[in-house]
């Protein structure tokens, strides 16, 4: 988080039209660096867009045990910037708020905090069993709002997406993933001694 602020500070010094964009989860929004970074960006009116993806769980800890305020965007007020909560499952709504935040940044109005509400459709990791802490049915209900499904419906309704296009898109994505997987699996392991490289500049 402070790195994104540093990048935008440097860009501002060079008078470049750069806005830095940093994402994190609502869990990390409790770290000191989140608050120190936002405050720094607010004080110096830096072009930083901070997007918190709020999926309501930090592994197993629910939102009400993470935040003393109602929502992450409430925190923006303390750092002198707008805080916007948006439906993270609505790509067009997210596009709109990020676009506005960028315009604020470019025009010198400073940083913006965006909270995108979303859901986690799986356990946190392969070692996590989310049945221990999530109500049955919670995930099923959330999956119905999954943007991959709901936005596809929107695109069909507006005539943008057809069966052929969808099939072609799936094929293309699958091909990219398979190619990347093959490339990675066929790549040789690094030489053991390569572990010693690039600790410092090598001239």
């Amino acid at each position: 988080m402070p790195h994104a602020v540093g990048v935008s500070l440097a860009a501002k010094m060079d008078k470049k039209d750069i806005v830095s964009f940093v994402t994190l989860g609502e869990g990390s929004s409790n770290q000191g660096d989140f608050h120190e970074g936002l405050n720094f960006a607010g004080v110096h009116k830096l072009p930083v867009i901070t997007m918190v993806e709020n999926n309501k769980y930090a592994i197993s800890v629910p939102l009400k045990k993470q935040l003393a305020c109602e929502q992450v965007s409430d925190r923006a007020k303390g750092y002198g910037m707008p805080g916007i909560t948006v439906d993270g499952n609505d790509p067009l709504a997210v596009y709109d708020v990020v676009k506005q935040a960028r315009e604020r940044g470019i025009s010198g109005e400073g940083p913006t905090l965006i909270e995108a509400i979303t859901d986690r459709y799986t356990a946190h990791s392969s070692d996590d069993d989310d049945r221990l802490y999530r109500e049955k049915g919670e995930v099923e209900a959330a999956k119905k709002k999954d943007a991959l499904q709901s936005f596809a419906v929107y695109l069909r309704d507006t005539g943008v997406l057809t069966d052929e296009k969808e099939e072609a898109l799936h094929k293309e994505v699958e091909q990219i993933v398979n190619d990347a997987t093959d490339y990675a699996e066929q790549a040789p392991y690094a030489e053991p001694e390569d572990a010693l490289k690039y600790v410092y500049e090598e001239v």
Partner: protein, 327 residues
Amino acid sequence: MPVMSYIQAVTTALKEEMQRDENVFILGEDVGKKGGVFRATDGLYDEFGDARVLDTPLAESAIAGVGIGAAMYGKRPVAEMQFADFIMPAVNQIISEAARIRYRSNNDWTCPITIRAPYGGGVHGALYHSQSVEAVFANQPGLKIVMPSTPYDVKGLLKAAIRDNDPVLFFEHKRAYRLLKGDVPEEDYVLPIGKADVKREGTDITVITYGLCVNFALQAAEKLAEEGIDAHILDLRTIYPLDQEAIIEAAKKTGKVLLVTEDNKEGSIIGEVAAIISEHCLFDLDAPIQRLAGPDIPAMPYAPTMEKFFMINPDKVEKAMRDLAEF
């Protein structure tokens, strides 16, 4: 050649580097209009303006973290920690981020940040204004730690730190700021980071130390010279990574080694120096390696009696040197 105090050498190095390279900028607490609580950035705000001499909120992790971000972008930030004691909230940024950026990106990214901090006791600063913190960072590959002992070294090493393409911690002894004065050339020069420096040639005993203690050892050596004890003094200058070659050479030269630090004894830098000597110089030694260090207590006391008890001084060094010479 102008005579400068240790802190004037800091200010001069900062000023010259900012004039030389517009990517160099300063950020920290009270570094702007006030010119720093020790006046290390005196006059820089007036010369370079608030965009290059940034007063930050009182938040050390952000000072380090924002500096790291700017360094990754291509700037040359010089972050000031008001006291070395206050660097603790920034440890995560320095160790887990700055030190590892080059390595974890397989050399794609660099982090050319310099972090300055005044350390050390002897100024009635007590717990939160006297600590030596170098050992916290001195087993973190990716970091370089420089601790200069003279105004001449300050100017050359601080310039080298700012131009270095890796993160450098630059610890300045706050008691040295106005205590130590010396010749500092007006011209631009840099001194090599990673190299120790022989501050006095001698044949009877070797003293290896750094920072303010170098001055104490030099004072003690002059006294002992009158008794016919000729001391060889090696200033580590960079305490991480250590200049092993220079340490081995200095130890072999006399076969009797005294290591001095103001830091707490156990786990300090000089323990590593002792390990290097014992690995490489066993058959050259004529006495056990000796250590003179601060006591293993959690803080520099405030009471003058106890502070004096904690601190290294020329008398303590002189006694330790004489004892070793007589071994």
